[in-house]
């Protein structure tokens, strides 16, 4: 069937902010879809609240809306843009749920929008666990015994039939959120309650457990003519019970005999047909008992997914791209396989290498969080590696994780190591390898993990003889979808070790520039950096050179072979990058866009004589070495908060005296504010030091903590001679909340022109003094009338995509042009980039709801996983949009609970007043209530948690409270504040933990009263001269 001509304009919904379970993979699939649909001559309307995505770059769609992914705003976009069709299968669960909602509330029908890719019925059949089960049974397939419950009572009734342990899974949640494994009746009640809460339709599934069975995934594609192919099989090394997203997985499947594998294949095809996904990709998950040959269907996702991104990168078969073509009418045999060019996409890739995916966790950032792996996904990112053998791939994947600190296996005894394996945790494979190295037997490990013996034997060999798999020469091989049966035209490479092999890279004559990516997503280093790397690749290509990408993150756009001229899927360690440099002989290497990861390699690459582009290695050290940086500030006459460096407890105590409390304390060389804390007195300091000073001689930094200071972020370009400030962002939360976690506003909403000028001057002064060539990010604190420099990062920062979208100038591209030799003067940059008549707000998205036990409190340590952007004509509206997009939908009425520390009581009054005027009922704890009443704000008193019911937690849980304002009185487990915040998070009630955040929120609520906010496309916002055009 040829392309459909009855549709002209297609809407694509993205997946919103990066959250656990929904990461960059949907930017990758969305971007592919946008490209393909426009190639096919369709107009694309894109909606996604996440500014850090490539898909929200104005050049990827005809109309790009950075708006909240909620029925209201999206309906508004539909009304405005009138798309003919909606493609909902590329934006993860978010897009799917949204499409369902728009179908149910009649919006699609009202505006005559057709769902393509998967229709309502198919989505519902796959996503509603009960309907799915009926569908499977009708198709003659088995699933684990299970029961549906919509209440705890109902759930208890089923317990006997299902038995313990039981698997509890909420309907319609992402990454198993709110689910878990109940091993006891107590756990059962707890998890069921949580699950009912988490499920948007208040429904949980109670499954018979098949813990320990093998877990397999198949990626299926189907076209409108009912042709189906399996793109890839993925075997989870972790058996059933560890979420696929948290499992170490391998492709293709390794342990099933052909006959059993073919049964899985048959069933996967049956599933996609029974569910009725007409066109596109689906992910089908199975549990297999290899002993008995039993196969159970676990679930299917009627859309592209994390696994389909993995499968695409693992095989070279671009699932999302093909899915988009299928959605507009093509059949698989009508689409060429771009890797061979001579064969059609209607085939099943076969590979002659092994792929291993490894999750990246961040438990260290969530004190008190339950770090056991379970059916509910907890990892924040992943790395993939390709090798000629399993051992090669596994070892490469292991080092691709780039752990900040190696797993502490050395301190564990052989028995401790083995015991640690019984409950899977983030370090399990490190422990497993250590156990093998220490002589543990395959049986001992198998008993504790039920991991298939084949894997265990491979891993034991690797642990005992780590060198053997790497004998022979390291050469670069092509990923060709066909095991060399045909010639590969697509330059997508990985390295493997073989005897007598030769490189398959055809380097060509053009000069090339290597761009080093950011590796696995992690908190503090996310998709923003991939965005920058992709922009660098585009720019290098535009400059007539070959763009060469090196990265190991399968989720990303940067590892799409379409993004660069040559892609090397390799770990980002010195050894691995040098290997690529050997075959590429690049004109230069760009380190500045991949976050901290490539910067760590700077010195090593320079020593090896690899030419580096942009800012000098020297400048990086200058900015990161506190002493040298301090002296540089003195020379410039800029202020930094008083600080000292200490190498021992004693030193720290004396230094503290000189610097003066409160103090911000942290270990040297940390990213994302790792282990950074605020201490108010010597006791607090001693306590911190006790926890963090290890006599490894590594320094501890003590900074005077500037209380209630306004934090400011600046992103600027510098060519070494001239600097150009692209954006100044004023943080909503005061300094002390990590820049990555605080909301920020561009242009600043409450800083005077004179202060802005000082900020501009000092930022530029710093960049020039550091000798920045490319991008630089400077953070300031405005403390009273004083301006303090907090830090400068001579590299792309987290905020580059946000600023680029806010001002309409692609900063990363400009920076790349500078690195390639152009001067700022030649870039045609606008004089007043922030001079638009719109306000942009960035809000961070926190993962607290995934980490039971962790405090939902903001601080100097970064913990957000993603961000959203709100754009409007005024600040309150933009802020409201950002809040809504971040999932904290502000209430338009009801009951507000306020409790603040004494120092904040005065400030709280303003908030209380506005809420009162807006007709909110106000409840408060005694102290806060008095403060409010004193200023004439009526408020009811609530019992403190200790003093019995009804206290605030009861009220929050019973849903009586719609808004919480709670500024912390000292953090720490189980304080009242902690319990209040957890209760709010659990209920999804907006919980504002800073005064400034609270104020902004109430102003936003007031603004929302003026009616629904207008939706704005980036294209219309930047039509003014000096914006996007100049970027072209």
């Amino acid at each position: 069937m040829p392309r459909r001509d009855d549709i002209r304009r297609i809407m694509i919904i993205g997946s919103g902010p990066i959250v656990i379970g929904q990461a960059a993979e949907f930017d990758y699939s969305g971007v592919q879809a946008c490209k393909v649909l426009r190639e096919e001559g369709y107009e694309v309307v894109l909606v996604n609240s996440n500014p850090a995505t490539i898909m929200t770059d104005p050049e990827f769609a005809d109309a790009t809306y950075v708006e909240p992914l909620l029925p209201g705003p999206v309906a508004a976009v539909i009304e405005k843009e009138r798309p003919d069709a909606l493609l909902p299968t590329l934006g993860g669960q978010t897009a799917l749920n949204l499409a369902k909602a728009l179908a149910e509330d009649g919006t699609l029908e009202r505006y005559g929008v057709e769902l393509i890719g998967a229709d309502y019925e198919a989505i519902d059949r796959a996503e509603d666990r009960e309907r799915f089960r009926e569908t499977m049974e009708a198709a003659g397939l088995s699933m684990p015994a299970s029961a549906i419950a919509t209440s705890l009572e109902e759930a208890r009734l089923h317990l006997d039939s299902v038995g313990l342990p039981a698997i509890i899974r909420p309907a319609f949640t992402l990454g198993g959120r709110g689910g878990g494994i109940a091993r006891s009746a107590g756990e059962f009640d707890e998890i069921v309650a949580r699950g009912l809460e988490a499920s948007p339709i208040g429904q949980v599934l109670i499954d018979q457990s098949v813990l320990g069975w093998g877990e397999f995934e198949l990626e299926v594609m189907r076209d409108g003519a009912d042709n189906c192919v399996i793109v890839c099989s993925i075997e989870n090394i972790d058996p059933m019970g560890v979420h696929t997203g948290d499992s170490v997985t391998v492709a293709p499947q390794q342990t099933l005999p052909d006959e059993l594998y073919q049964q899985l294949r048959d069933q996967a095809l049956t599933v996609i047909r029974a569910v009725g996904v007409e066109t596109g990709g689906s992910n089908v998950q199975f549990a297999v008992n290899a002993q008995t040959g039993e196969i159970l269907v676990i679930e299917m996702n009627p859309r592209v997914s994390r696994s389909s991104a993995l499968a695409s990168k693992a095989t070279g078969f671009p699932i999302a791209k093909i899915a988009a073509r299928l959605a507009v009418g093509y059949t698989l045999d009508e689409i060429p396989n771009d890797i061979t060019e001579v064969t059609p996409a209607s085939f099943e890739p076969t590979i002659d290498y092994v792929v291993v995916k490894w999750p990246r966790f961040a438990f260290e950032k969530f004190e008190g969080a339950d770090a056991r792996l379970s059916t509910h996904m907890k990892s924040v990112g992943e790395a993939m590696a390709i090798g000629r053998t399993f051992k090669q791939a596994f070892a490469k994947a292991m080092r691709s994780r780039e752990l900040d600190s190696p797993a502490a296996t050395s301190k564990m005894s052989p028995t401790e190591l083995l015991d640690s394996l019984t409950v899977p945790g983030a370090d399990r494979f490190d422990c497993l390898m250590a156990a093998f190295a220490g002589g543990a037997s395959v049986d001992e490990v198998h008993q504790r993990t039920s991991i298939d013996r084949w894997f265990l034997e491979e891993l034991r060999d690797l642990a005992l003889y780590p060198e053997t798999p790497f004998e022979g020469e390291r050469t670069f091989r092509a990923v060709d979808t066909c095991a060399a049966e045909f010639e590969a035209r697509t330059p997508y490479f990985y390295s493997g070790w073989d005897t007598g092999a030769v490189d398959e890279v055809e380097r060509g004559e053009k000069p090339s520039v290597m761009i080093l990516g950011a590796g696995p997503n992690r908190i503090g280093q996310g998709i923003e950096f991939d965005y920058c790397c992709v922009h660098a690749a585009m720019t290098v290509r535009e400059s007539g050179r070959d763009a060469v990408m090196v990265n190991c993150n399968p989720e990303t756009v940067s590892t799409d072979y379409d993004t660069s001229d040559r892609l090397y899927f390799e770990p980002l360690t010195l050894e691995d990058v040098l290997a690529v440099a050997r075959v590429e002989k690049p004109e230069g290497v760009i380190l500045q866009f991949g976050g901290q990861t490539p910067l760590k390699l700077a010195a090593g690459l320079a020593d090896a004589g690899v030419p580096l582009l942009g800012t000098d290695v020297e400048a990086i050290d200058l900015a990161e070495d506190r002493g040298r940086f301090g002296r540089l500030l003195d020379e410039l006459g800029y202020q930094a908060p008083p600080y000292a460096e200490a190498h021992s407890v004693e030193e720290a105590i004396t230094a503290a005296g000189e610097v003066g409390f409160p103090l911000l304390v942290r270990p040297s060389y940390v990213l994302g504010g790792r282990a950074m804390e605020i201490v108010y007195d010597t006791d607090g300091l001693e306590d911190y030091l006790a926890r963090h000073v290890h006599d490894d001689g590594r320094a501890i930094y003590l900074d005077r903590f500037l209380e209630n200071a306004i934090e400011v972020d600046v992103d600027l370009l510098c060519d070494g001679r001239e600097a150009w400030v692209g954006g100044i962002m004023q943080h909503v939360e005061e300094a002390g909340i990590h820049s990555g976690d605080s909301a920020c506003v561009l242009p600043p909403h409450s800083l005077g022109p004179e202060m802005l000028e000082r900020i501009r001057t000092q930022a530029a002064g710093l960049a020039l003094k550091l000798g920045v060539v490319g991008l630089c990010n400077v953070q300031f604190a405005v403390y009273g009338a004083e301006l303090y420099v907090i830090e400068a990062n001579p590299r792309a920062s987290r905020t580059v995509p946000f600023v680029s979208k806010a001002i309409g100038v692609p900063l990363a591209k400009m920076a790349c042009r500078i690195m390639l030799g152009e001067a700022i003067a030649e870039l045609g940059l606008p004089d007043d980039p922030m001079g638009h008549d719109h306000v942009s707000v960035k809000e961070a998205v926190m993962p607290f709801d995934r980490f039971d036990g962790a405090d939902a409190l903001l601080g100097p340590e970064m913990r957000s996983t993603g961000e959203v952007m709100g754009v409007a004509r005024d600040f309150p509206t933009a802020f409201a949009k950002a809040q809504a997009a971040a999932g904290a939908r502000l209430p338009d009425g009801g009951c507000a609970f306020i409790t603040v520390t004494d120092s904040d009581k005065a400030g709280a009054v303003a908030i209380g007043q506005t809420l009162h005027d807006l007709g909110f009922r106000i409840v408060a704890t005694s102290g806060t209530r008095e403060a409010l009443e004193r200023m004439g704000v009526p408020a009811e008193e609530l019992k403190k948690i200790g003093d019995g019911s009804p206290n605030v937690v009861d009220m929050i849980e019973s849903g009586d409270v719609t808004l919480v304002v709670n500024t912390p009185t000292g953090s720490g487990a189980r304080t009242d504040g902690w319990q209040i915040r957890r209760a709010a998070v659990a209920r999804g009630i907006p919980c504002l933990t800073t005064l400034s955040g609270g104020l902004a929120a109430v102003r936003a609520i007031a603004a929302a009263r003026q009616g629904a906010a207008e939706v704005l496309s980036l294209q219309e916002l930047h039509r003014e001269p000096g914006a996007m055009e100049s970027a072209a």
């Binding site: 003519a225 009912d226 042709n227 192919v229 399996i230 293709p252 499947q253 390794q254 342990t255 099933l256 005999p257 052909d258 006959e259 059993l260 594998y261 073919q262 294949r265 048959d266 290899a290 002993q291 040959g293 698989l332 045999d333 064969t343 059609p344 209607s346 085939f347 099943e348 890739p349 076969t350 590979i351 002659d352 290498y353 092994v354 000629r388 053998t389 399993f390 013996r453 084949w454 034997e457 022979g472 091989r477 066909c482 095991a483 060399a484 049966e485 045909f486 010639e487 073989d498 005897t499 007598g500 092999a501 030769v502």
Partner: protein, 374 residues
């Protein structure tokens, strides 16, 4: 204790590795399969007789071997070339370890070979003779490779086919089918027997008279090794049955049937061996992912190797008109045809799978429907 060895091709190209399996050399036509699982089915498939098989998938032996995966009563390849081999007898469904089994079967094997380079070489130079040798002197190895008869013009059916008539599916309630066993796979027999077929396997040199003696409902032409052009005597037999009984063929059987019709067969540059080739059924327009294992193919009506259109193009044959029923979407070669004036149909690929996808099992039903219709 690793035994250094090497693979030598007739053009002198050499690949190093470590010997495993039986302690002896092995020569034959060097071919490769791209299937990622099903190693045991492959090496026991009689169609591989006279060949040394290289696996493109780098890890072989992962799930051991078991009786259930036998495609015949023994190993038919003359040698096995692998990137990495394991001997796992403790795998869940394993009855024996892969390498022990190869050794017990007297089949030499080599591991640690960069099979990807080997495949790239065969892809560009075409399939050729080669062998697996201990790291003795290359001279004698070269001699052994030269001594190996080339695949063109080679009759291997007699070597692998049955010597006496064998009765399968006795007591079945389905049609009675007489098969010429040029090296039939277990899976084919099973697919038929499951459908109630009473199947008699005749030796390759059976005459048309003997074949038709028992008045079967249909004649089946099995898969098998070697060059169809060398099997003139089978072709004669087939000419003697076409038109008299519905005729069905798979792989070599398809080629033999076509020669009996008067069509040409030719040798493919490096063959089709794997489990992922897309084939289009021109009757339904549906695409099947197929199991393939053949080095020769049938020429298109225009005498060329490719059929460019997805059209049921026609041949004028000695037995009337034949129509293209299946085409390979990888290289557009002929994958199957249907006889229009006499009952009969054939396919080049392996609908019985074993190893490979089950997409084409429907062909057995189509086949039996036509027998019942006839």
């Amino acid at each position: 204790m690793s035994r250094p060895g090497f693979v030598l091709l007739e053009d002198g190209t050499r690949f190093e590795g470590d010997l495993c399996g039986a302690e002896q050399h092995g020569c034959g036509e060097m071919v490769f399969t791209t299937g990622m699982s099903g190693y045991q089915e492959s090496v026991t498939d009689p169609s591989f007789a006279g060949q040394v098989l290289a696996f493109t998938y780098p890890l072989i032996g992962n799930y051991g071997v078991s009786g259930a995966a036998m495609e015949s009563d023994r190993i038919h390849v003359n040698g096995v070339v692998m990137r990495e081999a394991v001997n796992r007898d403790d795998a869940p469904a394993a009855e024996q370890g892969w390498l022990d089994w190869l050794a017990a079967g007297g089949v030499p094997a080599i591991t640690g070979v960069d099979t990807r380079s080997l495949v790239r070489h065969l892809r560009s130079r075409g399939s050729m003779r080669g062998g697996i040798f201990a790291a003795a002197d290359e001279e004698s190895a070269r001699g052994l490779v030269e001594a190996e008869p080339p695949m063109d013009g080679r009759d291997l059916a007699k070597v692998v086919g049955t010597r006496t008539v064998v009765h399968e599916g006795v007591g079945g309630d389905g049609p009675r089918v007489a098969a010429i066993d040029t090296g039939i796979k277990r899976s084919i027999v099973e697919q038929m027997v499951q459908r109630g077929v009473q199947l008699d396997l005749h030796p390759p040199d059976v005459t048309a008279e003997d074949l038709l003696a028992g008045d079967p409902d249909a004649v089946f032409l099995a898969n098998g090794p070697g060059d169809p052009a060398a099997l003139g005597y089978v072709v004669e037999t087939v000419r003697g049955v076409i038109g008299k009984k519905p005729v069905f063929g798979i792989c070599l059987g398809h080629q033999l049937c076509c020669r009996a019709l008067g069509l040409e067969t030719f040798k493919l540059p490096f063959g089709h061996r794997g489990a992922n080739h897309p084939v289009k059924d021109l009757e339904t327009g549906k695409i099947e992912i197929t199991s393939q294992n053949h080095g020769f193919a049938v020429a298109a009506p225009d005498g060329g190797l490719r059929v460019e259109e997805d059209e049921p193009v026609r041949w004028e044959t000695d037995f009337g008109v034949a129509e293209l029923s299946h085409v390979n979407l990888y290289d557009r070669t002929v994958e199957g045809l249907r006889l229009l004036d006499v009952p009969g149909a054939t396919v080049q690929y392996h609908p019985e799978a074993g190893p490979g996808p089950h997409d084409s099992l429907y062909l057995f039903d189509r086949f039996l429907d036509q027998v019942r219709a006839a």
